[in-house]
């Protein structure tokens, strides 16, 4: 009875610990993490598996999988090793996935934050621009950009980033609109904090969880977009990419289905890993949504 309100509760476990505990609860998310780890592992060890150029002729063209142990997953019509193509393709997919996502989230956060925080005419102008982008189908815009910029892998990544920023921008705007009215924002303004600092240091960290979750979706989408480009023969021919492999395997689909199927499975599993990862992040970062 002598305790005063000023006494503290026992300290809580640190944030990463809490985060991991919540994440662990979702089994599918653990599978996603596992698949993601495999993709990262493949990208890292591609040079060890095949120190040479993955695009060189490695064996007899159209060898079936598990026939020749020099090329365990077989070869395509030009005699290229499918296994090393898969490993090197993981690099391209991750590169495109991560960099394009960073580009799109960066653009989306800046535009969405400005629109949501300031409102008024700033919001009107930025949202009309966003809508202009949204009216053009993603893939058509991507084709146009690649046609203009050329099909080097850097340009392709940039182009994918540019076509996918609209959805995060809208989401960030909505988050900012609800957060800017909260009292802690007034409190920061009252301390004399500048608008820039309020946007990026006060509001953005609070708006981050849904953005992080959505980033995993964009990552999956960018990998699909890159593959689709490569499938149409617009990918960078200098790199082994899963999309390229499917695109070329398409020609021999009836006689050597594995040329297209194996990279196809790789894409499916990678994209799946990102969406499971996203779901797990959602559970871990927004715990309240799921408790009911």
């Amino acid at each position: 009875m002598t305790l005063v309100d000023a006494d503290l509760r026992p300290p809580e476990p640190s944030r990463p610990v809490v985060f991991w505990r919540r994440y662990r609860r979702n089994r599918a998310a653990l599978l996603g993490l596992f698949l993601f780890a495999i993709v990262v592992f493949m990208a890292l060890t591609a040079g060890l598996v095949d120190p040479d150029d993955p695009l060189r002729r490695a064996g007899v063209p159209l060898t079936a999988p598990f026939v020749d142990w020099a090329t365990p997953l077989g070869t395509d019509q030009l005699g290229r090793d499918i296994l090393s193509g898969i490993f090197y393709g993981a690099r391209i997919s991750l590169l495109v996935g991560v960099v394009a996502t960073l580009i799109s989230i960066a653009i989306g956060v800046v535009i969405g934050a400005l629109a949501g925080y300031f409102g008024g005419w700033v919001d009107d102008v930025l949202m009309r621009i966003t809508e202009a982008f949204q009216t053009i189908p993603n893939f058509v815009l991507l084709l146009a950009l690649v046609a203009i910029l050329g099909s080097k892998i850097e340009w392709i990544t940039l182009a994918i980033g540019i076509v996918s920023w609209t959805a995060p921008a809208r989401m960030v705007r909505a988050e900012f609109m609800s957060l800017r009215g909260r009292e802690f924002v007034d409190a920061a303004r009252n301390l004399g904090v500048s608008n820039t600092a309020i946007i990026f240091r006060e509001i953005l960290p609070n708006a981050l969880p849904p953005i992080v979750v959505y980033a995993s979706v964009i990552m999956a989408l960018s990998i699909l977009l890159e593959s689709a480009l490569a499938f149409l023969g617009l990918g960078d021919p200098n790199y082994a990419s899963w999309g390229n492999m499917i695109g070329q395997g398409r020609a021999v689909l009836r006689t050597a289905w594995y040329c297209a199927a194996i990279p196809g499975v790789a894409i499916v599993l990678t994209v799946l890993s990102f969406s499971l990862l996203g779901e797990g992040l959602n559970d871990a970062l927004n715990p309240r949504q799921k408790q009911r």
């Binding site: 305790l3 309100d5 006494d7 509760r9 009292e183 007034d186 409190a187 009252n190």
Partner: protein, 551 residues
């Protein structure tokens, strides 16, 4: 009408999920509500009083929290045996509930009229026009100005007090046998509160309904209760007729709670009017533009503040009191320029704050700081306490390390342990968070602190502690406070002078002691005569007031 008690709770136990701070939210509660009787269930937050209401309505968040034993008899039928379909017929019709938080209890998507009509449509067999007339009559009965306009309004378009009136109109519209009121007047101003309390009394006398009234406020208890049950951490510590519990409490916890109630006697007048003026507001005006749906009814533009002029002297506490909608919160926002006034001037250090450019304003802000009402919402949940407090000085060019070190000193000043510095806001109780808010405001060593209802979200015992802290800091640091509150008891404790606002205008101002002793304006008289429990003087006890914090 059955002759027995309306509600009879026997040995009720409610289990909490595993891993909670205690196994039972409620242990062995016995409670009887007779027709025409008002039973007050009193306790601080976390005492299990709201869960009692949930158990009677069978609205507990099962299966996490569930009734583990006991019986709840409503008109001699055990509610715990009822099926969900039977409960639906009882809820809203025979037992109705008035919720704590009128904003969340109302659906923000639907108009007030639609929501009342929904209840009436479920239980009343009448054509639409008749239901509408009944709804408007109910809105009129709970004293909502212009009921026809309010019928078309959305919840966000009416004030907090009016929202609660709508909730009460909804609950009373079907003349229930039992009314469960969960802190129904906590969000209301005194005059409204008194009207609502009278209204609940009135209804009882008409219909003989029983009321289970949940509250933390002993003033309200003194005003309305026939019988009192005091809860502490789920255990009933004291029960008895109202007069006995209020004037001669036996249990030390009840004594501690009662001695935390601020007395209505203002402090002796200080000679501060000779001190220099630090903050001066002249001719302040603010109007909120008209809004109205395209298809729904229109609402008119609201004048929040009209022609307000005031002066705050150094070392003085100026109270701004008034009902909701009187513009007192708008005043606090205009003065700190979180809201742009339409016209007028706020002079601080001979500089007009309202005429400052954004850059000048940011520099000026260190002279005028604010303590916010909601200690949860006003602290950025992603920042550590030390960073929250040090933020202001750092923004104004203080060295990071010095600012952090000073933040730790400030924690001590507001009586928090230095270990608090590295925690996040959600790890603190409401009172502790408000202390952090005060430390943040003090960090810049401002000339003026504007406090917007700083204690209204806190439990009485915590409220008493925070008020003591504020009063103490004010003496030690020669603070000038602009203290916005709806609670006249709090104002009486802390303010040297008060200004009373009504509908955006000052109706009376003067020394607190003088205004309380001899109010001139009829509105002030009305306010003062509405203070709950004004006829009751809390008894004093020999033991020092002790209170329970988070363990």
């Amino acid at each position: 009408m059955s002759s027995g008690p309306v509600l009879d709770i026997r040995d009720l136990r409610i289990a909490l999920p595993e891993g909670s701070d205690r196994p039972f939210a409620l242990e062995g509660l016995n409670l009887t509500v007779n027709p025409g009787e008002i039973v007050c269930l009193v306790g601080e937050s976390g005492s299990g009083k709201s869960l009692t209401a949930g158990a009677v309505m069978r609205l507990l968040p099962e299966p996490h929290v569930q009734v583990a034993g006991g019986a709840i008899a409503f008109e001699n039928q055990n509610l715990l045996d009822k099926t969900e379909a039977e409960m639906r017929k009882i809820r809203g019709n025979r037992i109705s509930m008035i919720f704590q938080e009128p904003m969340t209890a109302l659906n923000p998507q639907k108009t007030v009229g639609w929501q009342i009509d929904e209840v009436l449509g479920l239980h009343m067999n009448a054509p639409r026009s008749e239901r509408r007339a009944h709804a408007i009559e109910m809105l009129d009965r709970v004293h909502i100005p212009d009921p026809a306009s309010a019928y078309n309004a959305y919840p966000h378009q009416i004030s907090g007090g009016q929202r609660q009136r709508v909730m009460i109109a909804m609950a009373l519209s079907l003349s229930p046998r039992l009314i469960i009121a969960d802190e129904p007047t906590t969000a209301l101003d005194v005059t409204t509160q008194l009207q609502i309390l009278k209204l609940i009394r009135e209804l009882q006398e008409e219909d003989g309904a029983g009321v289970l009234f949940i509250t933390h406020d002993f003033g309200v208890v003194a005003e309305i209760a026939d019988h009192v049950v005091v809860l502490r951490n789920g255990v009933m510590v004291e029960t008895g007729p109202a007069s006995q519990v209020l004037n001669d409490p036996k249990h030390p916890y009840t004594q501690a709670l009662i001695s935390s109630v601020p007395a209505l006697t203002p402090p002796p007048a200080k000679a501060v009017t000779q001190a220099p003026v630090v903050l001066k507001g002249t001719g302040l005006k603010k109007t909120f533009a008209a809004s109205g749906g395209f298809l729904s009814g229109k609402r008119e533009a609201v004048v929040a503040v009209r022609d307000l002029t005031f002066q705050l002297h150094k070392g003085e506490t100026l109270g701004v009191v008034g009902e909701s909608g009187s513009g007192k919160t708008t005043v606090s926002r205009i003065v700190t320029r979180l809201l742009e006034a339409d016209s007028g001037a706020v002079e601080l250090n001979d500089t007009d704050l309202l005429a400052c450019s954004p850059r000048e304003l940011r520099a000026m802000r260190k002279h005028i700081q604010m303590v916010f009402q909601d200690p949860m919402a006003s602290l950025n949940p992603r920042k550590r306490v030390v960073d929250l407090i040090a933020q202001g000085p750092i923004v104004h060019g203080e060295n990071r390390e010095t600012a952090r070190a000073r933040a730790r000193d400030l924690l001590e000043l507001v009586e928090l342990s230095p270990a608090a510095a590295d925690r996040f806001p959600h790890e603190f109780s409401g009172g502790q968070r408000q202390r952090i808010g005060i430390a943040r405001a003090l960090a810049l060593e401002p000339k003026v602190i504007v406090a917007d209802e700083p204690v209204s979200a806190l439990d009485v015992s915590v409220q008493a502690q925070v008020l003591t802290l504020l009063a103490d800091l004010r003496e030690r640091m020669q603070l000038s406070l602009l203290f916005v509150t709806h609670d006249l008891r709090v104002a009486a404790q802390l303010c040297d002078r008060i200004i009373v606002m009504q509908k955006g205008e000052i109706v009376e101002s003067g020394l607190t002691a003088e205004v309380f002793a001899d109010p001139q304006h009829p509105y002030t008289r009305n306010l003062l005569s509405s203070i709950p429990g004004r006829h009751w003087t809390p008894p004093t006890f020999k033991t020092a007031p002790v209170t329970e914090g988070a363990a």
